[in-house]
């Protein structure tokens, strides 16, 4: 069964390789500076290296696909995303993988009656507009800068050719590396907790953890996608929108990397905050949107007459279509899987309003007068509870979200086996000891669990004005919930 579910992850990996290679090597191949085969080799090697060495572990997965709480559901979401990416790849359109996946998740949300975070949808809309514009601006600035540099240093034709070639390979390889590192958890992450692999020592030189072995397989799936099916999208990015000169090719991929780095990097934000500098607003960026924006930016700089706007329009509609298609496929497939094949595609999540919860909500600064009539009630689906809350006019959307957070039923039991499973290297000693203190206890809500731990050690308490730390803490909690969660299905 594991192998069967894994197949959809591998399919997603393959389609990711087929579509996203163009982001890092498209312009290089389009300008004929690097041939397809060389680009494919570099891309594959660095994607695999990135996946295995820097592949973000279990933690990031939980954020991306965390809400999907059954294997069959994850299988369908991955499958729906892969199919929609494949369709776009066939049309030669570079699309964002994460948006396809979000589309798949939205389909799952509709099917299961879970709530969709509309902020995510606004963010996606923003990436379609802001990311290409930012990228185009950066491409124009960088193009001018590179132009001045060539003039200033009097770089000859052949020397320039050589430098650009190296530049394209280096930028491409780095891009491929981060493509592997950032995406492998989306492709393989959901399978990490159920993987049958054990740690493997390779000739005693280095060892691969079970997750790394899984990521290696995913990396290979991406690499196969690169080799077998990526040419079409590469042609679109590299020569379809405009015919790029080698310098323009380098500038485009460089601008795309800068935009991704500056606007998606929490590292930079952390650095700026710690030095008391104003931070760059983190806008949602996506690799495919960035590269297309950069290429258009260069086209505009040279007058804009060469840009094939019809194709640009096609790409834009592809961006809109991708999440929608993924959502529809996901919804329909879940219906079949659930009703025809009798597979559990989700674990129902209920909401229970108790006196204890109301007190906690009160402490969060929300006037609970309005919801007193709900005490003692239980809602089997998020949408039902949301409807009940929406009826209360006095509550803002934010307040509703807080109420839902504290009433969500997520039963946790701190078992001995669970404690043994907790990764000791990642969780600090104090944190682990705190967990041992509450051994054997059962919690109906996660907030009760969090409070219990926070009472034992300050290491489990969120810190003020330390976003990095609090985010890490959230990751740790999510990880621990997965371990201690009681099977709620059996309790109903």
């Amino acid at each position: 069964m594991f192998a069967f579910f894994l197949s959809s992850g591998l399919f997603l990996g393959w389609s990711l390789g087929a579509n996203n290679t163009s982001n890092v090597f498209g312009t290089a191949v389009g300008s004929r500076m690097i041939n397809f085969r060389t680009a494919a080799i570099y891309c594959s090697v660095f994607v695999i290296l990135g996946s295995v060495i820097s592949g973000a572990g279990v933690t990031d997965t939980l954020i991306k696909l965390g809400s999907i709480n059954a294997m069959a559901g994850a299988f369908i979401v991955a499958l729906a995303s892969a199919v929609s990416i494949l369709l776009m790849t066939r049309a030669g359109i570079p699309v964002s993988t994460s948006q396809a996946i979000i589309g798949g998740i939205v389909g799952w949300n509709f099917f299961t009656g879970s709530l969709t975070d509309y902020d995510i949808l606004t963010k996606i809309l923003m990436t379609w507009v802001i990311c290409p514009i930012l990228s185009a601006i950066f491409a124009i600035i960088l193009y001018k800068l590179v132009g001045y540099t060539i003039k200033y240093f009097k770089i000859g034709m052949f020397k320039l050719d050589l430098l650009i070639r190296y530049g394209l390979i280096i930028v491409g390889a780095l891009g491929a590396y981060s493509m592997g590192a950032n995406n492998i958890s989306t492709v393989m992450g959901i399978f990490v907790p159920v993987s049958p692999f054990t740690d493997l020592s390779v000739a005693g030189i280095f060892s691969l953890t079970a997750a790394q072995q899984l990521f290696f397989i995913g990396g290979i799936a991406i690499a196969i996608g690169v080799f077998t099916y990526s040419r079409r999208v590469i042609v679109t990015v590299g020569e379809g929108i405009i015919q790029l000169s080698p310098v323009a090719a380098f500038v485009a991929v460089g601008a795309h990397s800068i935009v991704l780095f500056l606007f998606a990097s929490q590292g930079i934000e952390g650095f700026l905050i710690s030095h008391g500098l104003p931070t760059i607003p983190l806008v949602p960026v996506s690799s495919s949107q960035a590269i297309v924006g950069a290429v258009i930016g260069i086209g505009l700089l040279t007058g804009g007459r060469n840009i094939r706007w019809r194709l640009v329009g096609g790409i834009a509609s592809g961006w809109v279509a991708t999440p929608i298609i993924a959502a529809i496929i996901s919804f329909i497939s879940l219906f079949f899987l659930q009703n025809v094949f009798q597979q559990e595609t989700y674990r129902p999540i209920s909401y229970r309003v108790t006196q204890e919860n109301v007190e906690r909500i009160n402490r969060a600064g929300i006037d609970t007068k309005n919801i007193m009539d709900l005490v003692g009630k239980e809602f089997s689906k998020a949408v039902l509870f949301k409807d009940a809350l929406s009826g209360k006019k006095a509550l803002t959307r934010e307040e509703q979200n807080i109420i839902m957070k504290y009433t969500k039923v997520n039963e946790l039991e701190v078992t001995k086996e669970g404690i043994a499973k907790v990764d000791a290297t990642w969780i600090t000693g104090d944190q682990k000891r705190a967990i041992q203190v509450i051994k054997g206890k059962i919690f109906a809500h996660t907030w009760l669990f969090e409070e219990a731990l926070a009472n034992i050690t300050p290491q489990w308490r969120p810190r003020e004005n330390d976003r990095e730390y609090n985010k890490e803490l959230t990751h740790k909690f999510s990880y621990i919930y997965e371990i201690f969660r009681r099977d709620t299905a059996s309790m109903h």
Binding site: F158, D161, P246
Partner: protein
């Protein structure tokens, strides 16, 4: 791989410089050969002719090797076509020098002493025009911004060459004591020599377009 690539480009740059050197040398030799011809030093003239033929062969070999390298090693993909055309055109100039010296060798024109200076000037204009073209070419490969510094000289020498040639032809046909066949023979030579600067100008015009294309 890195060092191999570095060597490869520097090799191409060397070959290219070498090729342009041949064009430039061919011009200087041509000038000197014609001078020997006028001084009736046929031995020196023939030696220089032989040398020019060798240079032309070497130029051909270099051009072919450059063309092969550019294609097999997929260098400068966007300018490759232009560079190949430029090489062919420069080679034509080389051929033209050789052709001119051969014509002198085969036809042995009887050039009256009073026209020697005009012919010398005409040759000089052609050689200078080609030299300026060679410099423009080098600039195109090394520092595209300085191409214009040499390009205007090509135009200047071409205009000079026109003037000298017209003047010379006029003088030839104004003389009463020469046979028409002799006059026409001399005129042909004047025209042939004039064409060197013309061709240099054509090459420079094309080069100008390549420069515009590169700067976009």
């Amino acid at each position: 791989m890195g060092f191999r690539l570095l060597k490869r480009t520097s090799g191409i740059e060397r070959d290219l410089d070498d090729f342009l050197d041949q064009v430039s040398r061919s011009g200087l030799l041509f000038q000197s050969a014609i001078d020997s011809y006028f001084k009736d030093n046929l031995e020196a003239f023939e030696r220089k002719t032989e040398e020019m033929i060798e240079i032309e062969h070497r130029g051909d070999a270099l051009r072919r090797s450059l063309e092969t390298q550019l294609y097999t090693k997929t260098l400068i993909p966007e300018s490759r076509g232009d560079v190949l055309e430029l090489l062919e055109n420069m080679d034509t100039l080389l051929d033209h020098f050789k052709g001119a010296v051969w014509r002198f060798e085969i036809e042995r024109p009887q050039i009256c002493v009073e026209y020697h200076d005009d012919f010398r000037e005409l040759v000089s204009c052609g050689v200078e025009a080609v030299e300026a073209t060679v410099l423009s070419c080098r600039a195109f490969f090394k520092n595209v911004d300085t191409v214009a510094d040499h390009m205007h000289k090509v135009i200047y020498w071409e205009t000079e060459s026109d003037k000298v040639s017209t003047n010379l032809q006029r003088k030839i046909f104004r003389r009463e004591d020469l046979r028409l066949s002799h006059k026409r023979h001399l005129r042909d030579f004047a025209r042939y020599l004039e064409k060197i600067a013309d061709e240099a100008e054509d090459v420079a015009d094309r080069l100008n377009i390549y420069v515009i294309k590169r700067s976009m």
